[in-house]
Each structure stands twice: as structure tokens, then as C-alpha cells.
């Protein structure tokens, strides 16, 4: 059975190879091949899942060793896979949601002439992400990690004719590189500390290493997770990444990429447990990001960017939970899965809205769409209820547990983290209600969209993409788009209850991540009630602001915070001032040293070798007689030296 594991990765990888190398003759069938291979991966995942379910809880780890890449002394780089409950959860999420997004893209990208290439990249994305979660060592994980970075670069910049898309792709890639650097340093530290990269040996011998070492490794892993999962301070790429086609956003936000950081931290749980400082840093990053993302989400008028802020915030919840240690790992992953359903559903819904609205993304030009797009409205609405944590729906079960766990951390930290998580829940309710109302309720503001002045100051780079200022004719999307949305809506509604009731998910994942109950200073019921109250408050404020009053077509100036939030809380300004300027100064001084000192040495060496070369070259004069003399001299020398060696 374990021999099937490699196929999980191989199927989409084959798809990527076929689609990208196949050329134009696959233009007609490419999207079907890509979708089929993603589905094959999912089916294999289901087969393996049922096999795991048939085994005892402690016997659910499968290993497949393909080959060793250059074993040298103590250095072993194995191409080997490990499938356990944690990987399995990710495999099903990645391949399942991934397949749905493939199906959706068939309709969404129908008129794009580079559709085959798009599906090739999607397959590559799946393959890299599956490799990341199936690797049995950090080095192979790193391969998948880089593959995800590459695929995201290609997909975010897919509409490369738009300079904004090309820039966004570069930004995502560069910011991710910073995180990747953290991962590579962490891997090197691991190798010097433990002498291996493999999960088993590293995580089992954590006790042998000093806490300082472990803290360093943990912080570097956190840096890596920040990059891929868009956590503060490496969050800035996520918003711009919306330049990619909407299915890509759904894929990045729900099934792949941003979940990689949470996976990394959870997978390295044993290591973090032994490094409390690093763990604290993880919780702080999570808490800050969940508020940061939520605040940004409140101010955005671009529907996709509002959802992007929401993703940042929700991943913040997961990172926070993962930083809590054994009391939180299970809930981090559980929230990750439920979030995978409703966030994918929300993004596909947003894509469906844009599809019907001439690619308009400004919510101020939406309104009243529920009558025109009933399926989208219902599925999006269910996703909305799930994400704000409406009782009984997915988000309720997973988010509530995280808030409880945060309080259970104990002490001042517990109160601060729990408070942040609670506040985040309120803001979530606010901005999601705002999105919902602005899009589906209220006046049909798009009716007079053509008459509003086209040169309004607008932050969205997509401005030039908005069509010809003709009045849009909202319509429901084709079947290939709505069916995935409906499937995901089912997940949004029922997944949480399925996982949460009877601790089903807890029992499934516990053998891998470990679990312990925290002792919360506040009861579970209190937390739930407080969450509900704040939910109602948040949604109520949004209703008062946007439901009761007409939404102005041009955004009001707003308070200082609003304006800052519209600019992503000044993240880019901060990066520019601190990193770009500082970097320029550093570069300039380094260039000076390089030119004067390093180049002097290097050029001197090069010149001396060049001169030597020119002189030696003259020995090669083209006369056979000189060559013969050189051979004779060489032979004489060799014979003499051999005899001399004996004499000495």
C-alpha cells in the first residue's frame, strides 16, 4: 500500500510535465488532462485514507523510500515519503480542494488562450505542495517548499501582460525567499545539531540538544512559516498576490501555500515544545497577524483583497494555536481544514461574482446581486456564516476551540492571547458582514456604474482591467463553476460538526501531534457565549454602517486608522523605509568594498593566471619536433624521479 504514496506526487507532476512540454497540440485537451490527474491524486489519497482507517491508531504511519541522493559519509539525502495522519489530512485537503479548483478553472479560464499552461502550473502547484507534506525529511520538504514558491510565482504572474501582476509575482517570490532563507538555515542548524534531516531522528533526539540551539532552529522555522503563510512581518505579498486569476487565489489561500507554514510548525511540534521561547514567538506572531489581517480586511473595497486580509487573519489563528503547543496543534489543523473549505468557497464565489460583473472587483460597484446570482449567493452566504463562526457551522467548532486553547495557555499570556483571539472574532464578523452586505444586498449600484467618473483615485491595480465602463449584466456562472462551489459549501456547513462532535478529529490526529487539555481560567461555555456576543456586535455594527445606509460609490476619506488599513497598515511604506532604504545603503557600502578590495584581489589573480596562460601557450608552437622533445624530457624526468624515489 505504501508504494502508492509516490503516485500522489507523481500524478500531478506528470500532468505538469505533459502540459508544459506538450505544446499547442494539447491546447484542446490540456485542462481535462490536468483535472484528471489532480483527481487521480485525490482518488489515491482516498484509497490510502481508507487503508489508514483500517489500521490501529498507532500503526497509521506508512513509509516509502525511493532512493538516496548522494549518500556521503554521514550525509544522507533520502528521497523518501512518510504518510501519517497529519500528512493524510493535508493530502486529502490539497488534492480534494485542488481538484475542485481545477474543475472550476475549466469554466473560469475558458476564454484564456493560455489555459493549458495555466493547468500545467496548477498541477505543478499541487505536486510541490503534496511533496512538501509527504516528505519524510526536512531537505525533501525544502524541495517541495521551493516548488510551491516557484508555482506561486508563475501563477500570481500568470497574466504577465499586466505590469501589476508581474510585480506582484516578483514581490511574492522575493518575500518568500526571505522565509526560505530561514528554512535553509534551520535545516543546516539541524544537520550540525543532530547530524540528520529526517523527521524521526530529529524530533526524537530533541532532548539531546541544548535549548539555545532549539530556540534558534525554532525561530528560523518560524521565519520560514511567516514567509509562506503570510504572517507578520512577511505578510506583504499576500494582498498583491490577488493579481493572479481567482482560482489561484483560492488555491493559495485554501489548499496550498499559506497552509505550509502551519504544517511546518505542527510537524516540528516536538522541537517547539522543547523551545518555549520560540513557541512564545509563534503565538505572538499569530496573535498580531490575526488582528493585522482582520483590520486590513475591514478597510478594503476590493472583494478579493478583503478576503485576502481575512485569510491572513485566519492563518494567524492557526499559527497562534500551533504556538500553544500540544493544547493547540489539533485545533490548528482542524481550523486549517475547515478554513480550506469555506475560504475556497468564498474565493470561488468572489470569482463567480467577478465573472458575472465584467471582472469588476470594487464592492462599491456591486450590491443587490443575490437576485441575479442565487447559487453564488447561497454558497457564498454559507461560507460567510462558517467563517464568522455561526453556531453549528464549520468555523464555529474550530475557531471556538482555538480561543479556548488560547485562554488555557494560562497566566497573563493566556489572557492577552485569548483576548486578541476574541477581538479577532468580532472584527471577522464585522468585515465579513460588510463584504456580504456590500456585494449581495442593498441598492444595485452597478446600474449606474458607467456614469461614475472613471478617473476616481483608486487603490486597486486592477483598475485598468475593469472593462469598458459598460453596464454589467450580472448572471449566474456555468455549471463547472457552481458545482465546486456547492461541494465546498457542504464542507463549510458540515465539516466542523463532523470533526468536532465526539472529538473525532482529535482522536485521529492525536497520535501524531500529541494532545493535552489546558486548564482554562474561563469555562468553555463562557468563551462560547462571549464569542457569540462579540459576533453579534461585530455583525451588527457592519449592518448599521452598510445595511441601513446607502453605500457611497466613492470611498469616504475615513479615519486615520481606516486610511492606514487601506494601505495595508503601511506595510509597504515600512518595508520601503526600513528595508529598501537600509538595503540600499548597505549595498552601496558593500559595493564599495567589493570594487576596491575584493575586485583587486580577484582581478589580480585572474590577470596573473591569464598572463601565465599566455606564456605557457607559447610552448605549444605547432612543431612536432618540439612536442617530441617535450615528451622525451618528460619521460626522462619520470624515469629519473622514479629511480630517485627508490634511492631516497
Amino acid at each position: 500500500m505504501q508504494n502508492l504514496i509516490a503516485l500522489l506526487v507523481a500524478a500531478p507532476l506528470l500532468g505538469a510535465a505533459v502540459l508544459l512540454c506538450g505544446g499547442r497540440r494539447l491546447d484542446r485537451s490540456g485542462h481535462l488532462i490536468g483535472t484528471l490527474l489532480a483527481a487521480v491524486s485525490f482518488v489515491i489519497g482516498v484509497v490510502l485514507f481508507s487503508d489508514l482507517l483500517g489500521r490501529g491508531a498507532d500503526d497509521r504511519t506508512l513509509n516509502q523510500h525511493l532512493f538516496s541522493w548522494v549518500p556521503v559519509g554521514g550525509f544522507r539525502a533520502d528521497i523518501a515519503f512518510q504518510l501519517d495522519q497529519l500528512s493524510m489530512t493535508f493530502v486529502l485537503l490539497i488534492s480534494g480542494v485542488g481538484t475542485l479548483i481545477h474543475i472550476y478553472s475549466i469554466g473560469y479560464m475558458e476564454h484564456d488562450e493560455r489555459r493549458r499552461r495555466f493547468f500545467g502550473y496548477l498541477n505543478l502547484f499541487l505536486a510541490a505542495m503534496l511533496l512538501l507534506v509527504l516528505a519524510d525529511n526536512y531537505l525533501l520538504l525544502y524541495v517541495g517548499w521551493e516548488g510551491v514558491g516557484l508555482a506561486s510565482y508563475l501563477l500570481i504572474g500568470f497574466w504577465q501582460h499586466k505590469p501589476s501582476a508581474a510585480t506582484a509575482a516578483k514581490k511574492a517570490f522575493l518575500v518568500n525567499r526571505v522565509g526560505d532563507l530561514g528554512l535553509s538555515i534551520a535545516i543546516m542548524l539541524m544537520f550540525t545539531t543532530f547530524g540528520t534531516f529526517a523527521f524521526g531522528p530529529v524530533l526524537h533526539s530533541v532532548g539531546d540538544a541544548g535549548e539555545g540551539r532549539l530556540t534558534a532552529i525554532g525561530l528560523m522555522l518560524l521565519l520560514a512559516a511567516c514567509g509562506k503563510s503570510a504572517q507578520v512581518p512577511l505578510q506583504s505579498w499576500l494582498g498583491d498576490a490577488m493579481e493572479g486569476p481567482t482560482p489561484v487565489s483560492a488555491l493559495i489561500h485554501a489548499a496550498t501555500m499559506v497552509t505550509a507554514g502551519v504544517y511546518l510548525i505542527t510537524r516540528s511540534g516536538a522541537l517547539f515544545n522543547a523551545a518555549p521561547t520560540a513557541q512564545l514567538a509563534v503565538t505572538v506572531v499569530g496573535a498580531v497577524t490575526l488582528l493585522f489581517g482582520a483590520i486590513v480586511g475591514c478597510a478594503k473595497d476590493d472583494i478579493k483583497k478583503a478576503l485576502a486580509g481575512s485569510t491572513m487573519s485566519q492563518i494567524g489563528y492557526m499559527v497562534l494555536a500551533a504556538g500553544l503547543g500540544p493544547i493547540g496543534y489539533v485545533f490548528a489543523i482542524m481550523h486549517l481544514v475547515t478554513h480550506g473549505f469555506f475560504k475556497a468557497g468564498l474565493f470561488l464565489g468572489a470569482g463567480s461574482v467577478m465573472h458575472g460583473m465584467n471582472d469588476e472587483v470594487d464592492m462599491r460597484r456591486y450590491g443587490g446581486l443575490r437576485k441575479h446570482m442565487p447559487v453564488t449567493f447561497v454558497t457564498f452566504g454559507l461560507g460567510y456564516l462558517a467563517i464568522i463562526g455561526f453556531p453549528g457551522l464549520s468555523g464555529f467548532f474550530s475557531k471556538d476551540k482555538i480561543i479556548e486553547a488560547a485562554f488555557a495557555k494560562g497566566g497573563t499570556e493566556g489572557w492577552v492571547l485569548g483576548g486578541a483571539a476574541l477581538l479577532g472574532a468580532a472584527i471577522t464578523a464585522y468585515y465579513m458582514t460588510r463584504v456580504m452586505i456590500m456585494t449581495f444586498f442593498g441598492a444595485e449600484r452597478w446600474r449606474n456604474a458607467a456614469t461614475t467618473s472613471p478617473d476616481e483615485p483608486s487603490a486597486e491595480p486592477a483598475a485598468e482591467h475593469r472593462g469598458e465602463h459598460a453596464e454589467p449584466h450580472p448572471h449566474e456562472s456555468p455549471r463547472s463553476m457552481t458545482i465546486p462551489m456547492i461541494v465546498l459549501a457542504f464542507g463549510s456547513v458540515f465539516a466542523g460538526a463532523f470533526f468536532g462532535i465526539g472529538d473525532r478529529f482529535l482522536r485521529w490526529l492525536e497520535p501524531v501531534t500529541g494532545h493535552q487539555e489546558g486548564n482554562s481560567p474561563v469555562g468553555a461555555a463562557t468563551v462560547t457565549i462571549a464569542t457569540m456576543v462579540l459576533l453579534v456586535v461585530g455583525a451588527g455594527i457592519a449592518y448599521l454602517q452598510y445595511g441601513r445606509r446607502p453605500v457611497p460609490a466613492v470611498a469616504p476619506r475615513g479615519s486615520l486608522l481606516t486610511r492606514a488599513a487601506r494601505r495595508d497598515l503601511l506595510q509597504d511604506d515600512f518595508n520601503h523605509v526600513v528595508l529598501v532604504r537600509g538595503g540600499e545603503h548597505l549595498t552601496r557600502s558593500l559595493v564599495y568594498v567589493d570594487h576596491t578590495l575584493v575586485d583587486g584581489v580577484v582581478n589580480g589573480t585572474a590577470a596573473s593566471f591569464g598572463g601565465l596562460s599566455g606564456r605557457l601557450r607559447r610552448l605549444q608552437n605547432g612543431y612536432a619536433r618540439s612536442y617530441a622533445v617535450s615528451m622525451f624530457g618528460g619521460a626522462a624526468l619520470i624515469v629519473a624521479a622514479t629511480l630517485l624515489m627508490r634511492a631516497v
Partner: protein
């Protein structure tokens, strides 16, 4: 000669014939060589009896079938256990059938097969008088620029003799690394050298240069052969035998008397040292080690490029195979004497090849110096004197030969009005005009430079590791420095191809037939496979890395 000796000669000769045992030949175990040599003879008959217009097809067919069959025979023998447990000395002690021999024979046959593809290429040169032409002279005997040459071109003559010549050369090369006595070694050396001298003289264009190269190669080759032969004589004088096993036993002292007639010279260490040094020198000439390398650039440049590729790849494999066997089987008892000398040779070879290559302006000469530097790297592995030394050298040779063949095959594609455009300045901006060809060539250059994920890295890593474990760390340091110097000129070519403006009168890239495309594609595939997953092949070389004694 004393009267008794004369008498004994007379009486020996007068003995009845029945005393001579019929030689026992294991035809099955020698089948790879026998197939190739028979095919070469068939090729000669084809030249004699098949009509001119069908000769090309007949020759290509015979060569390809023979090489493929011989390769199948090698694989069969290896699968039959001859490469490992059943290693065996065949033909009355003359030829070894063991792991290194079979591995190298396999490599030689594959490179030979690929080389035959490039020999048979007929689409690169424009048609002459309506006849497709290959890289070889229309009629080798006609004087360059003469009326008879023009007539031969007009008549559409082609020198299809290159195929049997190549087969003879391959036949000799197959025996060379397997030779288990000094006479077989020498015969094999001449059998593969003579056809190569001829092949070098057969270029279609720049014929004077080609003939000059052939004469130089022949003169210097004959000179080196004389050294080898003299060394063999001295070794015979020392040991009283030409058999490797016997010499080795005499060297380590387990056998004292072999032939009473040689009682005066036997055991004289001066004979052993001088003889050993001279035989090794002959082999160093063939691998192109400094200071016996001087022929390499001139010959590589002048020979028809397909021949250069063949020679650079296959000769090196065969000669290093023979050198390995000589040093590991015959002279291991003497290693404290020859190792310091070989150290020195390896160092000057690595540094010399890399440094002189820096200022080369012709791509074929550049590759020639690069091959000298690579000979130095391989020597570092040879000197290791441990099992890893053998297997790493085997791996390096396999990796290097395919990179070399591929690189020279690419050189045949870049052409201008005067034939191949080998001057480096003409390669400027090639990456913009023909990205695919330039990218392929870049892969080969990166492999030569030893950049990871190519076979060059895996090979270099293996030989340096073996050398370090064999106690030759300083050699490894110098090897790495030479690699750094060498990387400069390889990458300079890449920079030239991709980051320079194309010249307006620059060369065109010819569209080859599937023959050359296959050769290049195989080169790229082997380079990448050996670079991405070298372990399997390193293990294979490790299993094959035991000499039968």
C-alpha cells in the same frame, strides 16, 4: 650467443609439433571484441564488393548492428556474473573478463555507437553537386585543392571506409583495458591507434590542417609506442614474463625464477622501475597527460569533429582502463615508487590544462585543453589506490565520454560558409539565435565545469572523495583550484553565448538529421541522469570495480 644456447634453440625447434598445446580460446567471453572485429572485416568486404551508392547504407547498418550486438554481449556477460563473482582470465591468460573490463567495454561500445551516428551525419554540409556529403573527404588520396579532388567531389565520392576504420579502432579499444599481458596490451594499442591516425586525416574541409594533425599524431604516437615497447622489453627482462600476474608475483617477491635464460637480469630493480615508468608513459600519452599532451590541441582541432569527439571520449576510456589495470594489478607492489611521480603528473596536468585553456580562442582547442584538465582529475582518482578509486574512475569515464561526444556533436552544428565556425568570437550571441542549441551546449559546459545536478559534479566528487580517502588531500585541493580556474573558461563561453550581442555575419546553426540529434539528446540525457541520480550508477561501478588477478 653461446654455443649451448644456439644448440638449445635448434633442439627446441626440432621438437615434434605435437608438443605445442592447441590454444584454448573462450569465444563466448571474448564475443564483444570478436563481433566488432568481424564486423570491421565485413566492412572491408563491403568496400570491395558493394556498389558505391549502397555502401554508405551497408556500412552504417553493419556498424550499428555490430556495436549494438557487442553491447548486448557485454551486458549478457555482466549479467552472467563475469563482472563480479565469475571474473576470469580468458585466452590463455591474455585477456581479462572482469568488472572493470566489461564496464569500460560497455562504455566504449555505447560511445562508439553514438560516434557512428555522428560519422553518418549527412545533412550539415550543403549538398555538393546534388550529393549529400558527410564530414569526411570525398577521396582521401587526392591532393587538397587538386583537379582530382574536384573530380572526386563532383562524382559524389564519399569515404565510407571510415566505418570499418572506426570499428577496428573500437575493437582495439575493447581489448586495451582488458589486456592481461604486455604483448596483448601493445597489440591492442596499435590496433586502435593506427585507424585513428587515418581517421584524423580525413576531414572534408581544411584538409591540409587535418593532414597535418594526422601526421603529428602519427609521429608522436609512434614515438610514444616506442617508449612503451622498450618498457615492455625491460619489464620482460626483469620478470621473465609478459603476463601481468607473473610480473606482479615477481614484484612482490612470491616467485623468483621464471626463465633460467634470464638469470642475469631477473630481479634487477632498475629494469623494473625504468620499464614500468616507460610503459606508464605510453599510456599517459594516450590519455593526454602533461607533459605528453602536446599533440592533443593540434589533433583535436585538425581532425574531423566527429572523429575528435570519438577520439576524445573512447580513447580516454580505453587508455585509463589499461592504466588502471597496469597500476592496480601489475605494479601495486611498487606504489611507493610511482605514486609521488604520478602525483606530480596529475598536478601539472590539472593545472596546465586549466590554465592554458583560459586564453584559447578556438572552441575545439578549448575542449582539447579541457580534456587535458579532465585527464588530471581522473588521474587523481587513479592514484587513490583503493576500491573507490577504481569505481570513481569508471564512473567519471562514463560520465565524461558522453558529455564530450555531445559537446563535439554540438560543435558540428554551428557553421558558416567555411564549414564549422570554431572561432569563439563567432559563438557570440548564439543563445539569442538558437536558444535550444546554446542551452544544450551550456548543459555540457556546466557538466565539464562540474556544477551540481550534472554528471560532471557527481564524477568529480567521486574521484576527489576517493583521492582524499586514499591520502591525497593536497591533490584534491589542487584539483578543486583547477576546477575553479576551469569553471572560468567554461562559463565564459556561456556568457558569450547568452549575454553578448550576436554578430551580424555570425554563423548559422544547421538543422541536423535525427542521427546527430540522437547523439546530442543521449549526451544530455546521460549528463542529467547521472547528475540527478548518480547513486545507482556509482553502485554499479562499485560492483564492477574489482580486477581479476
Amino acid at each position: 650467443m653461446s654455443p649451448t644456447a644456439v644448440h638449445s634453440l635448434w633442439t627446441t625447434a626440432a621438437d615434434p609439433i605435437s608438443k605445442i598445446d592447441a590454444p584454448k580460446i573462450e569465444y563466448g567471453q571474448l564475443s564483444p571484441t570478436l563481433i566488432v572485429i568481424s564486423a570491421a572485416i565485413v566492412g572491408v568486404l563491403v568496400e570491395a564488393f558493394v556498389p558505391r551508392r549502397s555502401r554508405y547504407y551497408a556500412q552504417v547498418f553493419v556498424s550499428v548492428v555490430a556495436l549494438a550486438a557487442a553491447f548486448a554481449a557485454v551486458v549478457g556477460l555482466a549479467a552472467g556474473g563475469y563482472a563480479t563473482t565469475k571474473g576470469h582470465i580468458a585466452a590463455m591468460g591474455a585477456v581479462a573478463v572482469d568488472g572493470p573490463a566489461l564496464f569500460l567495454q560497455g562504455v566504449i561500445l555505447l560511445t562508439g555507437l553514438v560516434a557512428v551516428f555522428t560519422f553518418a551525419e549527412r545533412r550539415l554540409d550543403p549538398e555538393a553537386h546534388g550529393n549529400r556529403v558527410d564530414s569526411f573527404a570525398a577521396q582521401a588520396a587526392s591532393v587538397p585543392g587538386s583537379d582530382s579532388e574536384r573530380a572526386a567531389v563532383k562524382a559524389g565520392f564519399t569515404t565510407t571506409e571510415v566505418f570499418p576504420l572506426a570499428l577496428f579502432a573500437i575493437g582495439g579499444m575493447l581489448v586495451f583495458p582488458a589486456a592481461n599481458d604486455l604483448l596483448t596490451l601493445f597489440v591492442a594499442l596499435e590496433v586502435f591507434s593506427l585507424p585513428l591516425y587515418l581517421l584524423c586525416a580525413l576531414a572534408r574541409r581544411k584538409r591540409i590542417m587535418s593532414q597535418e594533425a594526422a601526421v603529428k599524431y602519427f609521429l608522436l604516437g609512434a614515438f610514444a609506442s616506442a617508449f612503451t615497447l622498450f618498457g615492455i622489453a625491460l619489464l620482460y627482462g626483469y620478470a621473465g614474463s609478459v603476463s601481468y600476474a607473473t610480473i606482479a608475483q615477481v614484484v612482490d617477491g612470491s616467485v623468483r625464477t621464471v626463465d633460467p635464460a634470464l638469470a642475469n637480469t631477473m630481479g634487477n630493480d632498475a629494469l623494473l622501475l625504468i620499464g614500468g615508468a616507460m610503459v606508464v608513459m605510453g599510456l599517459l600519452f594516450k590519455v593526454g597527460a602533461v607533459p605528453f599532451h602536446m599533440w592533443t590541441p593540434d589533433v583535436y582541432q585538425g581532425a574531423p569533429t566527429p572523429v575528435t569527439g570519438f577520439m576524445a571520449a573512447a580513447t580516454k576510456v580505453a587508455a585509463f582502463g589499461a592504466l588502471l589495470r597496469l597500476l592496480y594489478v601489475v605494479l601495486p607492489g611498487l606504489r611507493w615508487d610511482w605514486r609521488p611521480v604520478m602525483w606530480a603528473v596529475a598536478i601539472v596536468t590539472m593545472l596546465g590544462g586549466a590554465i592554458v585553456a583560459i586564453t584559447q580562442t578556438d572552441i575545439k582547442r578549448l575542449l582539447a585543453y579541457s580534456s587535458i584538465a579532465h585527464a588530471g582529475f581522473i588521474l587523481a582518482g587513479v592514484i587513490a589506490m583503493n576500491p573507490d578509486g577504481i569505481s570513481s574512475v569508471l564512473f567519471y569515464l562514463a560520465a565524461y565520454s558522453f558529455v564530450t561526444l555531445g559537446a563535439f556533436a554540438v560543435v558540428t552544428l554551428v557553421r558558416d560558409a567555411g564549414g564549422e565556425a570554431t572561432h569563439l568570437s563567432k559563438w557570440a550571441g548564439l543563445g539569442r539565435r538558437s536558444p535550444l542549441v546554446a542551452a544544450v551546449f551550456a548543459v555540457f559546459l556546466l557538466a565539464f565545469a562540474g556544477i551540481p545536478l550534472t554528471s560532471g559534479f557527481a564524477g568529480k566528487f567521486a574521484v576527489f572523495k576517493a583521492a582524499a580517502e586514499g591520502g591525497a588531500t593536497p591533490l584534491v585541493v589542487i584539483g578543486v583550484i583547477s576546477s575553479a580556474i576551469a569553471a572560468f573558461f567554461y562559463i565564459r563561453v556561456i556568457v558569450l553565448m547568452f549575454f553578448s550581442e550576436p554578430r551580424p555575419e555570425g554563423p548559422t546553426v544547421a538543422v541536423p538529421s535525427p542521427l546527430t540529434s540522437t547523439a546530442i539528446a543521449l549526451g544530455v540525457a546521460v549528463t542529467l541522469v547521472l547528475g540527478l541520480a548518480p547513486q545507482y550508477f556509482l553502485d554499479l561501478a562499485g560492483q564492477a570495480g574489482v580486477f581479476v588477478r
